[in-house]
């Protein structure tokens, strides 16, 4: 039994209370501890990814209870990849937060940050549907705390939207879990994968309801139409670095669909065959359109970026919908890309907005480092819009390539390509106003009153570093697309051959006094 699997959950869970209690009065101490913890998490995640690359499904039985009766953590290529992605993002965002001093603008930032990471890692690692719910709660409440970090009226209003929509989602999650349990009698994902296909198609109505309700729950997290409404307000009004971290939050929803709906409600289960594609594909199509429309419509930078995130989620889910290994592989590649590109843009937005003083797309005097910011924005924008040379273009090509099925192709291709065009136009307009038009504003020498606000300090290397690091990762993802997709192909294949997963989880471990799970008369034991 390798305890490292649970380290990404336990480490932040132990660190966060200390940050929230013992270190809450000293920001330097909190920073050091939080950064050290995040660095450690990154290396743990790296180790787990290497371990999972061997192709095995590694199971961690909590409390030493055999599955499906206790809770299990499962590490395979997919979950290892998601954990590594999260840890990488977390490290870079934390760097930005510390460099820009965001963490000092409110209370308990680092404690909430670690709890947030714990929630995300927990969701990626769990092999139990109810436990997934628990970690959805953890990451929801922590993310709410981060979202309203440092307060402000508009932010709190947007926070309420976020909380209400997601609590509604949690409620539905409970209904969905109830339905699921009532049809299969189990909560373990591998066990579900065994039991759902056994249900005859003519008795499949309830299983189908469970699958669809779960799908909607995850769609809320992934911000797909018609439950995407919470995202623009939330991301646009959250502190920008938090929005950058949230780039991974929508992916939790995507991950849950990829995981649970291929394992339990996938193509191999007769009652639910084709169900995901039937509902997910049109929803993703509309989402792509809404994202592009929102980008074009945006009057402020943060909503523009938020809608571009919605559009990229739509694109991602288009590739998830067909539920085949190649499409899933392309979806995973795009998932990594879209996480980093959204985060890069939000981090950059933070640098720019904090210096411009507003995120409206209006003309302001040029910033000191206008050229630098313009270049970074250009990089982020071409990544998000899917232009070369960054990984977005390859991701888009892969998804287009995967969606060749003649019934999907006309819709998917035109949606993605037209969506890209509108996004390009939207970003070009925004960038042109922010970084080009502003250079036409000439501040005459000595025209500023003496008591005018001092011009914001130029961004230091430490402040720009995280954004550049993310862009560099995007470039690396493009250059190393071959090895990356190789890993993702293996992850996709592993997903669609669930026997390995099922066997690894459900095969009883050798224990000296292993109880017989099918004891003849369970109530007889109550007599003690």
């Amino acid at each position: 039994m390798n305890h490292w699997i649970i380290a990404p959950v336990v480490l932040p869970a132990l660190l966060a209370p200390l940050l929230g209690y013992i270190m809450r009065h000293d920001i330097v101490l909190a920073r050091v501890a939080s950064a050290a913890g995040t660095v450690a998490l990154f290396f743990i995640a790296l180790g787990l990814a290497f371990w999972a690359a061997d192709g095995g499904t590694h199971v961690y039985r909590l409390g030493d209870w055999p599955a499906p009766f206790g809770i299990v953590l499962v590490l395979d290529r997919l979950s290892a990849m998601m954990v590594l992605l999260t840890a990488t993002l977390a490290l870079i965002v934390l760097w930005h937060v510390i460099a820009t001093g965001w963490d000092a603008k409110g209370r308990h930032f680092h404690a909430l940050y670690q709890f947030q990471l714990m929630g995300i890692f927990g969701a990626f690692l769990t092999g139990d549907a109810f436990n997934l719910f628990v970690f959805f709660e953890v990451l929801l409440i922590a993310s709410y705390g981060l979202m309203v970090h440092s307060g402000g009226k508009v932010r709190l209003q947007a926070g309420l939207q976020y909380l209400v929509m997601n609590l509604a989602g949690s409620t539905l999650f409970l209904f969905a879990l109830g339905t699921m349990y009532a049809t299969t009698g189990t909560l373990n994902m591998a066990d579900l994968a065994v039991k759902v296909p056994l249900i005859p198609a003519e008795e499949g109505a309830m299983v189908r309801v469970a699958a669809v309700l779960l799908l909607i729950v995850f769609m809320i997290k992934a911000a797909l139409f018609p439950v995407q409404f919470w995202l623009p307000g939330t991301y646009a009004n959250a502190p920008a670095p938090v929005a950058a971290l949230f780039a991974i939050m929508t992916k939790v929803g995507a991950y849950a669909i990829i995981r649970l709906h291929t394992l339990a409600y996938g193509p191999q289960s007769s009652p639910t065959a084709g169900l995901v594609e039937e509902w997910l594909f049109p929803a993703a199509m509309v989402t792509v359109a809404l994202g592009a429309i929102g980008v074009l419509a945006a009057k402020r930078l943060m909503p523009l970026l938020s809608f571009s995130v919605i559009g990229s989620m739509g694109t991602l889910m288009l590739a998830v919908a067909p539920q085949d290994p190649y499409a899933t592989e392309t979806a995973l590649y795009y998932l990594v890309h879209s996480t980093f590109s959204a985060a890069a843009l939000f981090l950059l937005a933070d640098l720019v907005i904090s210096r411009r003083g507003t995120d409206t797309l209006s003309v302001r005097p040029p910033l000191l480092q206008n050229g630098l910011f313009a270049a970074l924005f250009f990089g982020g924008a071409i990544a998000m819009a899917g232009m070369p040379p960054l990984s977005g273009f390859l991701g888009k090509l892969l998804i287009l390539d995967a969606l060749r099925d003649p019934t999907l192709m006309p819709w998917a291709w035109s949606g993605i390509l037209i969506g890209s065009l509108v996004t390009i136009v939207g970003f070009a307009r925004a960038g042109s106003i922010l970084f080009w038009k502003s250079t036409a504003v000439r501040v005459p020498e000595g025209a500023e009153p003496i008591d005018a606000e001092p011009r914001p300090a130029p961004a230091t290397a430490a402040e720009v570093g995280p954004t550049m690091a993310l862009l560099a990762l995007l470039a690396a993802l493009a250059v190393l697309a071959g090895p990356a997709t190789e890993y993702m192909r293996a992850a996709g294949t592993q997903l669609f051959e669930p026997d390995g997963y099922i066997d690894a989880v459900l095969t009883p471990v050798e224990k000296p006094e292993a109880p017989d799970p099918h004891a003849p008369d369970p109530l007889a034991e109550e007599e003690h």
């Binding site: 039994m1 305890h3 649970i6 336990v10 869970a13 132990l14 966060a16 209370p17 929230g20 209690y21 013992i22 961690y60 909590l62 009766f69 209370r107 308990h108 909430l112 436990n131 709660e137 409440i141 922590a142 709410y144 970090h149 209003q157 947007a158 939207q161 209400v164 509604a168 209904f175 009532a182 009698g185 373990n188 499949g204 109505a205 189908r208 309801v209 699958a211 909607i216 439950v227 307000g233 929102g294 074009l296 419509a297 190649y326 070369p388 892969l398 060749r404 291709w413 390509l417 136009v425 070009a428 042109s432 080009w436 697309a481 071959g482 997709t485 190789e486 192909r489 369970p522 034991e525």
Partner: protein, 954 residues
């Protein structure tokens, strides 16, 4: 793959690496920057020079390494005749432009940026012409659009630059995206994305059902890039770029990318009717329309821009003909157009630079003021007009020759006549360029007195003019190059013989008509121009702007109305969608037969049910009276607890009751700071709609519950019943599930509670320090409060209850593992006991009497639970594995110790801490709002009747 082949990736990479140079070198000045910018270009040219002899002999160099094998994307390059010709053009002109720009740009311009963009473009363009993989080609294709965007917008403070850049990006970007689709289809048909394979699979491609969409999509890319009608309008606006850019990108190289692509794909795609009618027609129309417009452009660069569009149309038309001779003519004209048009643009730049205007109507007589420039300009313009002894004449003759025997829709006249008209206008605007700019008398109203520029500036165009004349006089010199490229286009060796005199061919007559007609048109220019202006030509820019702003407005209507922040509507959509989707999914399958009988309704149960329904009704209809709704919610909570008791779930009932109590108490306190009523929604239809949605959801949930309760279920719970005592050490299965079987869930949930405490605390801090805090301080909070906040009865009774409640809490905690109870409930019971003290005697009074830090409780709670779990690692078992044993200490009976109890302690602490932190936050708000702090337990103490207890401010 030979060893020379490995030059190819180096050639492709050199400009990109070189792009890093100017950014640094600019610190050494403009000249140094220009010099070092030339280095990668020269290096690449040298390498091409090494490869050139082989290519001339028919060798095709290839190089490839895998990049993204899943997709079929390879970093594959190949160099054949066509690629070599284009590569030399790109690098050669690049070198000339580098020199020219050094003198053209002023010291105020960010010259380093310029050269960086220029090299980026050069690399992208070079990539297009030597790519052997169409996906790689697409990458370079999009890169040219991006670098062109940057270069057009180079003077970013000028609105024309910004708008032109965006327009170019939009149009060429749209074409590029269409081309992605086309290329993917093409690769699918051919079974490979490698150009060599695709070119070999021409017959297969033309026979495929997917041929038509592929051709249309690819041509969209080519036409937008090469500014073919009706996508031509971006090119004139791209002239806002500095002139070196116009000369390089928008006449010599980038706009020829579309033509290049058509030439490249010629063997695979051309030769069909579809190809002919699409390509040749578009080219013909573009050639004529643009030539006409060019004549009436007063802006020098505008004239040249439309002339470029016209010549690109000519090239497109030739490639559309699909014959070998036309392909030869096209290749030859590509070469000739490059030489004279780049020279002309640079001349226009010189004039603009010196005279400070490009308006033809303000120029004239420059031949005397700037003779060198005039010679260059006139030579190049004569070539553009197609006058013999200049190279433009030769390729135009070939074009007219091809046009003269082309039928269009069975009609032999349309193409030759229109081609002649195009040539005629071409002569007219070329002559206008000569006579209206250089001819005529010297004027005295130029914005700046023009004179010849320094040699660095005229050297480049002069160099190009040498080729104009050389090829024009001795065309056989160009034969090897033309044959080399044309062979690559057509796929088999061509033997073109270029000569000036072909005899008395139709082309010659057409040429004579064109020259004569052009001269006449120029003489009539003044009245024609007046008529043109009066007619008010159609301006594509305003139409384009209108379309874009229309799209923006439309998206604002959609996006802003959809995302208007109304939570109730978001929820309604969510609920309606969920119910619909659930119902549709249900319809897609059958349901297992019912296996359980309905039970008779017990009277007790009926009473409970009626109570629940009534309470729910009250909440629905009275919810805007918040206080009342809250109290009634309490009723519902109690009924639910009763239901749990009825269904033999005492643990759940206990938990439910305590949770209910704590939440109602906290909510009551919170309500203190909120409006006491909810505004009533006036809009009746909306209310009805919302009601219908809610009802549908309710019915849905009820049906689900009914369906499940009437069917038997085979679940995993038997295991928990069987193993709770033996393996988990407790007889209370619910508690064992909570702290052992699924202790990890509980671990997560207490963390949720802990985070909630922290979030509330952080939020309260942020609120109080912001404007909300100021509002709170100024709120008329005090006016209707009770005069006896801490009544005697309550104070005394809570004091009495306190120890009892705490004892109950301890008892519940300890017995948890075997009887209903546990850390969670115990935490809540403790919280209630303390809450009562706070309510009875005020927060400050109570605070002073207990010394726990709430943050600490949460912290230690989570840590203890976590460490208990991690303790299992010491025995080599997984996280949260419990151990238990029986201990016997003499006077007491044997009792059980389980690590689960320690875990439960963590739960207990966390619950208590979170609840108290919430209470603390509420009380801080109260004190902020001006609530007084009592030092005594009672506001009114009957034992000291004389005075009110003194109050102090917080």
């Amino acid at each position: 793959m030979t060893s020379e082949s490995s030059f190819l990736p180096i050639i492709a990479l050199l400009p990109f690496l070189g792009a890093l140079i100017p950014g640094v070198m600019i610190r050494a000045g403009r000249t140094a920057t220009a010099t070092f910018t030339a280095v990668p270009t020269v290096l690449a040219l040298v390498m091409l020079g090494v490869l050139a002899p082989g290519v001339l002999n028919g060798t095709v160099y290839t190089f490839s390494i895998p990049w993204l094998p899943q997709l079929g994307l390879e970093a594959a390059f190949f160099l054949d005749g066509l690629g070599l010709m284009f590569a030399c053009m790109i690098l050669g002109v690049g070198l000339l432009i580098t020199l020219y720009a050094r003198y053209y740009l002023s010291g105020e311009d960010p010259v380093g940026q310029f050269y960086t963009y220029l090299l980026l473009f050069q690399g992208a363009m070079l990539g297009i012409v030597i790519s052997d993989n169409i996906l790689l080609l697409l990458i370079f294709w999009e890169l040219t659009s991006l670098s062109s965007f940057l270069l057009i917008g180079y003077w970013k403070h000028l609105p024309e630059g910004r708008q032109g850049a965006r327009m170019a990006l939009t149009v060429t970007g749209a074409g590029g995206l269409a081309m992605i689709g086309g290329m993917l289809i093409l690769g699918n048909i051919a079974g490979s994305y490698n150009l060599t394979d695709i070119l070999a699979a021409g017959d297969l491609i033309k026979a495929s059902d997917w041929y038509t969409p592929a051709v249309i999509l690819i041509l969209l890319g080519a036409f937008t890039k090469s500014a073919q009608f009706p996508f031509h309008f971006w090119l004139p606006h791209a002239m806002a770029a500095p002139t070196p850019v116009s000369a390089y990108l928008h006449s010599a190289t980038m706009v020829k990318a579309g033509v290049f692509l058509m030439a490249r794909m010629w063997p695979a795609l051309s030769g069909t009717e579809l190809w002919f009618y699409l390509v040749a027609t578009t080219g013909l129309v573009t050639m004529v329309i643009a030539a006409v417009i060019a004549l009436f452009k007063d802006d020098l660069k505008g004239l040249l821009a439309f002339s470029t569009v016209s010549h690109l149309g000519l090239l497109t038309m030739l490639l559309g003909f699909g014959t070998e001779a036309a392909a030869i003519a096209a290749v030859f004209h590509i070469l000739n157009h490059l030489t004279f048009k780049a020279a002309l643009f640079m001349t226009a730049g010189i004039i603009d630079h010196e005279a400070h205007t490009r308006d033809i109507k303000r120029l004239g007589g420059l031949a005397k003021l700037m003779p060198i420039t005039a010679v260059i300009g006139i030579v190049a313009a004569l070539s553009m007009a197609g006058i013999p002894l200049f190279n433009g004449f030769l390729s135009k003759e070939l074009m007219l020759e091809e046009a003269s025997h082309t039928n269009w829709w069975e009609n032999p006249w349309i193409v030759p006549v229109l081609a002649t008209v195009g040539a005629l206008f071409s002569v007219a605007y070329s002559l206008r360029f000569i006579f209206h700019v250089f001819g005529g008398p010297v004027r005295d109203d130029y914005p700046s007195k023009p004179h010849d520029p320094p040699m660095g500036m005229w050297l480049s165009p002069a160099f190009l003019c040498i080729f104009v004349v050389l090829i024009g006089v001795a065309p056989f010199l160009a034969e090897p190059v033309v044959n080399m490229a044309a062979s690559a286009v057509t796929g088999h060796t061509t033997h073109a013989h270029l000569k000036i005199w072909h005899g008395l061919t139709p082309a010659l007559y057409m040429s004579i008509i064109a020259v004569a007609g052009g001269a006449v048109l120029l003489l009539l220019h003044r009245p024609l121009d007046a008529a043109w202006i009066k007619a008010g030509p159609f301006y594509a820019k305003s139409a384009f702007d209108a379309v874009i702003s229309g799209c923006v407005s439309l998206s604002r209507v959609i996006s802003d109305n959809l995302h208007n922040g109304a939570i109730s509507r978001y929820l309604a959509i969510f609920t309606a969608a969920t119910v619909t989707a659930g119902y549709m999914a249900y319809l897609g399958g059958g349901i297992a037969p019912q296996t359980r009988e309905m039970l008779p309704i017990a009277p007790v149960f009926a009473v409970g049910w009626v109570l629940l329904v009534c309470a729910t009704g009250v909440v629905v209809f009275q919810h805007h009276m918040r206080y009342r709704a809250l109290v009634v919610l309490g009723v519902i909570g109690l009924m639910v607890s009763a239901g749990f008791v009825f269904l033999s779930a005492p643990d759940l009932a206990l938990t439910q009751i305590s949770v209910e109590t704590v939440t109602i108490m906290l909510l009551l306190l919170a309500l203190h700071f909120l409006p006491k009523t909810t505004p009533v929604e006036k809009d009746t239809p909306r209310r009805l709609l919302d009601g219908a949605v809610a009802l549908a959801a309710g019915v849905g949930v009820a049906s689900l519950a009914y369906a499940f309760m009437t069917r038997d279920l085979d679940s995993i719970s038997f295991y928990h019943l069987a193993n709770s005592y033996k393996e988990g050490g407790g007889t209370n299965v619910v508690n064992v599930i909570l702290v052992d079987f699924r202790g990890y869930d509980t671990y997560g949930e207490i963390i949720v509670l802990g985070i909630a405490g922290l979030v509330i605390f952080a939020l309260m801090e942020a609120l109080l320090s912001g404007p909300a805090g100021a509002r709170l301080r100024n709120s008329g909070y005090n006016f209707d409060r009770s005069h006896d906040r801490h009544p005697l009865m309550m104070v005394v009774s809570t004091r009495v209850m306190m120890p009892i409640a705490l004892m109950v809490g301890v008892y519940i905690f300890l017995r948890g593992h075997n009887q209903p109870g546990g850390g969670f409930v115990a935490g809540l019971v403790f919280s209630i006991a303390l809450l009562m003290q706070y309510m009875a005697s005020g927060f400050a009074w109570t605070m002073r009497r207990q010394q726990f830090e709430y943050h600490a409780m949460i912290g230690w709670g989570v840590v203890i639970a976590g460490l208990t779990g991690a303790g299992a690692w010491l025995s080599g078992t997984p996280f949260l594995t419990s151990a238990f044993g029986y201990v016997h200490i003499p006077p007491i009976e044997e009792f059980e110790l389980a690590t689960a109890a320690l875990f439960d302690l963590g739960v207990f602490l966390c619950v208590l801490g979170a609840v108290m932190l919430m209470l603390y936050s509420l009380s801080r708000m109260a004190r902020h709002a001006g609530e007084t702090v009592n030092l005594e337990p009672l506001d009114y103490d009957p034992s000291r009747p004389a005075k009110m207890v003194e109050k102090g401010k917080a």
